[in-house]
Symmetry: D2
Subunit: 336 residues, 4 copies
Amino acid sequence: MTRVAILGGTGYTALELIRILLRHPDVQITAVTSRSETGHIGVVHPSLLGRLDLKLENLSPAQLRDRADVVFGCLPHVASMEVVPQLLDVGLKVIDLSADYRLNDAAVYEQWYGHAHTDTGRLQSTVYGLPELFADRIPGQQLIANPGCYTSTSILALAPLLAGRLIEPIGIIIDAKSGVSGAGRTPKLNTLFAEANENFTAYSVGNHRHTPEIEQVLTTASGQKVEVIFTPHLVPMDRGIFATIYATPTKVVDQKSLLEQIRSFYAGKPFVRVTDQIPTTKAVSGTNYCDITARVVRGKVVVMAVLDNLIKGASGVAVQNFNLVCGYPEETALIC
Amino acid sequence: MTRVAILGGTGYTALELIRILLRHPDVQITAVTSRSETGHIGVVHPSLLGRLDLKLENLSPAQLRDRADVVFGCLPHVASMEVVPQLLDVGLKVIDLSADYRLNDAAVYEQWYGHAHTDTGRLQSTVYGLPELFADRIPGQQLIANPGCYTSTSILALAPLLAGRLIEPIGIIIDAKSGVSGAGRTPKLNTLFAEANENFTAYSVGNHRHTPEIEQVLTTASGQKVEVIFTPHLVPMDRGIFATIYATPTKVVDQKSLLEQIRSFYAGKPFVRVTDQIPTTKAVSGTNYCDITARVVRGKVVVMAVLDNLIKGASGVAVQNFNLVCGYPEETALIC
Amino acid sequence: MTRVAILGGTGYTALELIRILLRHPDVQITAVTSRSETGHIGVVHPSLLGRLDLKLENLSPAQLRDRADVVFGCLPHVASMEVVPQLLDVGLKVIDLSADYRLNDAAVYEQWYGHAHTDTGRLQSTVYGLPELFADRIPGQQLIANPGCYTSTSILALAPLLAGRLIEPIGIIIDAKSGVSGAGRTPKLNTLFAEANENFTAYSVGNHRHTPEIEQVLTTASGQKVEVIFTPHLVPMDRGIFATIYATPTKVVDQKSLLEQIRSFYAGKPFVRVTDQIPTTKAVSGTNYCDITARVVRGKVVVMAVLDNLIKGASGVAVQNFNLVCGYPEETALIC
Amino acid sequence: MTRVAILGGTGYTALELIRILLRHPDVQITAVTSRSETGHIGVVHPSLLGRLDLKLENLSPAQLRDRADVVFGCLPHVASMEVVPQLLDVGLKVIDLSADYRLNDAAVYEQWYGHAHTDTGRLQSTVYGLPELFADRIPGQQLIANPGCYTSTSILALAPLLAGRLIEPIGIIIDAKSGVSGAGRTPKLNTLFAEANENFTAYSVGNHRHTPEIEQVLTTASGQKVEVIFTPHLVPMDRGIFATIYATPTKVVDQKSLLEQIRSFYAGKPFVRVTDQIPTTKAVSGTNYCDITARVVRGKVVVMAVLDNLIKGASGVAVQNFNLVCGYPEETALIC
C-alpha cells in the first residue's frame, strides 16, 4: 500500500487523479491540499461525495512527509518549482503535473514562461514521464515531469515516424484541437460557457508553450533536430484533443507502411491503439488511450491522434508514471 | 432620428441591443459606455467589427445628455439606481434593463436584493415595460423598467389564464430552464464551459429574485393575489428559456379552451405566438417572439412558454419599449 | 466466472454494459448479438477497440445457451418479449433492459405501448429490478425487468417520502429533464445534433410511457395509490437525468426532516447519495449513483434527483441486478 | 418586387434562405417545394410560425414559372441537374445551391460525385457565384452556381495571397473545421447528437468533394495551377467554419504585408472583414461576413478564416448572388 497526497486539489487534474487513484488497489489517498479552500472534497468536487472522506488542507512539506510516500503535484507552473525541492528534500517522491520540470534548458523555460527558473539544477536530470518513450528510465525515480496534453498527443503521433526516418524533422505542422477543460478551472472570459459554446477559434498561434516541449522531446527521442509549427484551437467540448499533423515524407510511403511502422513502434504498449479508422475524441474520452492513424494525401503524410487531455494528457499518464516509479503493473487502475 | 446611448457596453445584453439598434432605421447609436474598458467596440465584441465605429467611454450624465436622447441602461442592479436619477435629471429618457425599478415596494427590493433602495420615490410610478400587458402606459414615459427574462416568460404564459379566471392564483409551479448567457459575461465558476457543459442543475431554489417580480406583476395584472413556486435551472446552451408551468384549473378545462383564451388575450400582439405544438427554444432563438402552448394533464393545466432570454427576455423587449416610448411602430427592428 | 451474452449490441446501453462488464472480475463476455450488423465490436463501438475481441453475431437461443449463463437483453420493446421466453426455456437467466416485463398488467401495457403482450403469463411474477426497493426479491431470479431511466430517478426520489407518509400520493408533479442519449442510437430528426443542440423542449407531455411504470411501482412500494403528472424534457447534453419533483406534504415538514427520512430510507444502500447540496447531473455522469436532495418551498415539497440515464438508469443497474441474481457483491464493477 | 420560389424546402439552407428573404424589401416568397412533405412551413420549420403562410408543395417547372421569377435550388446534387434545365427552359432564373454546376469539367464531376453529369453543356458557361471574385460576371445571369461552404472559406482566405504571388500555389494545407449543420437535416448516425456532441473528428480525409472545387476556382482566379491538401473536421456546434491554412511564402513576408494584401484585395467588399485578431466562428454566426487574418509562424504563412456555413457559406451568398443577378444593392437583406 502506497500513501499518496495530492497537491492543489481544486482543479480538474486533481479531480481526475482522485477518481483514478480510488480504483487503485494499492493506493491510499491520505491528503489533498489547497491554499485557498478548506471545504470537504465532496463539496468542492460533488462527484466525489461519499467516496473520499477528506477535507482540503494547507500542509507543509514536513506534514506531507508524515502522511504520504508519493505526492502528485497539481500546482500551476512557478508555484510548483517553489515547493517541489522541499518535497524532495524531505524524501517524498513527486509526480509533477506542472510544466516546471519538463524543459531541460532554463533559458528556454524563462523565454516561454516569463519566469527565471529557481531549481535549474534538476532540469537536466529530471525524467520526462512519457512512458511509451521512456519507460525504462522511470522506475525508481524520485521526480517525474509529467508531460503536457498537447505534447503527449503530438509526440505519440510523431515519434514512430521520426524514429523510422519516414518523415522530415523540419516543417512539421501540428494543427491541434482541444476541449475546454484544458484551460483549467479558474474562471476566465474566454472559457465561459457563453463564450466558448457554439464557437471555434485558434489561440496562442505561433507562441504556445507546448511548442518547445514537443520539439525538445522529439529531438531527444529521434536524435535529429525537430521543428514544428504548432497551432492550438479551442473546441466546444469538455475534454479531448485531436491533432492533425502534416509532415513531408523522406521517401515514397503509403498508408500501410506508415501504420506498420507505428504499430511496430508501439508493440506491447498497452495505451496506444493504432487504428485503420479515423480516430475520434469520444472513443478515448475518460480513458488512458491514445488512438493514432495515418494517411497519405497528395504525397504528404497526415497523422491523426486523439487522447483525453485530462487522462492520458494529464492524470492518467501521471498514474502510469506512478505505477512505474513504484513498481506496480503499468496498467493498474487505468483500464476502465 | 433618435440618438441613443448604451450604458454598460461590455455585457451580452448591450451586444444584443447594439445588433438590434443597428437595424433600426430611426436610431443612431452615439455612445457606448464602460467604467472598466476603453477598447473599440469591434474589439470588445468582435461580431460588431466594422459595424459600429465607437470606443467604450466613461461618460458623465451631462456628457450623455449632449450625445443622446435616450439611454439604455445595461448596468447591474444597485449601480443602476445610482445613475438613473442623474440621467433623468438632465432630461434623458431611460430604458433600464436592471432590476432596480421593477419592484414597487422598497422593502421587498431590500429583502430580495440585500440593498436599501436609494431612489424609492420612483418605485411606485415607474412603468413596468412588458408591452403585451402595459402597452398603453409606456408611450411617452421617461423611465421604463425593463422586465427580467424569467419574469417575462412566466408572466406571458400565465397572464391570459389568470385574467380569464381559468386557473387558481395560488400554488402555481413555475419550473423554468435557462441557457447560460442569462448569467452574464462576468467569469464565475459555475458558468465556466467545463462546469456548465454536459451538466444540468437547479439553482436558487425557492429564493430566486425573479419570484417577487413575477408575483407583483401578475397580481397587479390579474387583480388577485398570485403566489408562485419558482425553480430555475441551468441548461447547457447559450440562450433560451423554457418554462413549464403547472396550475390548478378553477373549473374543468380542455386544451382547446385554454389555447383559445391565450390566443384571444394576445390578439394583435405581434410578438406572442400561440401554438398547438410544443414550443422549442430553438424556434425563438435570436428573435423577439414568445411561443406559448397549453395542455391539460390529469386535470392540471400545463402551460409551456419559450423566449430568447437575451432578446424577448432583455434587449428585444427593451427596443420594443423604446419604440413605444418614442412613437415608432412597435415592431421596428424586431422582425428579422 | 459467469459467461455473459449481450443481445442487441449496437446501442448505447449495450456499449455501457460492455464497458462495465469488462471491469467485472467474474464475468466473461462471450457473445454480442445483432440482427443488422456483423462488424467487429471495436469498429461498431470504437471506444472498445482492443478491449473485446468479438464480432457481432446473429445467434439462436440454443447457440446462446451454449455460450452463456446470463443474457442481458438490449432489444427494443416487442422484440424483447418475442425472444425472452425462448431464452428462459433453454435455461438462460435474463436481465431484460426493455420495457416488456416492467408492467404487471397486460392491458396497461397494450394501452401505452400499442401492442398486445404475447407473454402475459410472466407479467405478474417478474421481479422489477430496482435493487434499492426490491433487493431481497432479486437473488436467484431467472428473469429481471430492468427499470426505465426516468422511472428509477422518479421512484428513488419519491419512495422514501411516500413510505414515510410525508407527502400526498396524488397530484405529484415530476418535471424531468434528460440528455439525448436516452433517445437511443437510431437516427431520428429530433435527436440530430443540429436539432437538439442549443435547444430545449418538452415531449410526450402527458403521455410518456414511463408514467404507468412510475405509478405502478410507487403504488406497490408505498401501499397507496400514487398518481403523477410526468413531463419529460430534452436537454442538449449526452447523458444525465434531472428530476424536479413537486409534492404536497401531509403535514408541516422542513428540509431537515425530509433529508433525514430519505437518508434513513437509503441507509446501507451504496448507490444512493443523499446530499444537502443541489445535485448536478455532471456529478453522477458515468457513475451508478443517484444523488437526491429535498427542499420546502412555500409549503410545497421539492425533491431533486439525478442519475446517469445510461448507467444507474440502464446498464449500471442491470449489472447491479446481475450481481444480486448471481450472488456477487452488489457493488462489483460499479464503483469507478 | 421579385417573386421567388424555393426548391427543396425542408433543409437548413432553405430555412435560412426564407429567414433572409423575409427581410428583403423587394422579394415575395411565393412557393416552397418538397417532394416528400406537404405540411405548413410553420410546422416544418417552427421558427417560421406566423411569418410565412405557405404549405410545402410539389410543383412542376410550369407551375413554378407561373408563380416565380427566380428559383433558389436547395436540392441535393444529381436531383438538381435533373430539374435545373427544365427551370431554365421555362425562363426562370436559378440560383443553384447544389454542387451540380460548380465544376467546369464533367469528368471531374463524375470522378468526385460518382454520377455522370447529364447537363454537361452548361458546365463551362455557368458563373461561379462567389461575388468577391466574380461580381462583374454575375449580373443578369440566368443560372448561378452557388459555392460550397468549405470552398468559400478556403477561396476567400487564399485568393488575395495567390493573386499577389505571395504564396506557393502547390502544397497548400487547408485544415478546416465545420459545425454539424453542414451535414444537412437528413438523420444519419454520425450527426446524431449523442454521437457528435462531446466529440471531434476528421472525415473524408484526402477525398472531400470540395477539394476539386477549391482548386478549380483558385486556379482560374490566380492564373496558376493550385493544389491543396484539404482535411475537414466535425465540430460539436450548430454552425460555423474555421479554416486554418498553411502555405509556403514565395519570399520573406510578415504579418503586416499579408494583412495589407488581403485588405487591399477586398477593399470595397462589404462582407469580408480583415482583422488583426484571431477570428472566431461566433463573431460571424448568423451573418454574411467572412473574417480573415494571417500570421507568419516559423516562416510559414498561416491564414485563418471563418464564416457561417449556412449564411455566407450557403444561403447568404445565394441572396448576395440574387441581388447582383436582379440588380438590387448587393447588401440588401444581408446586414442584420
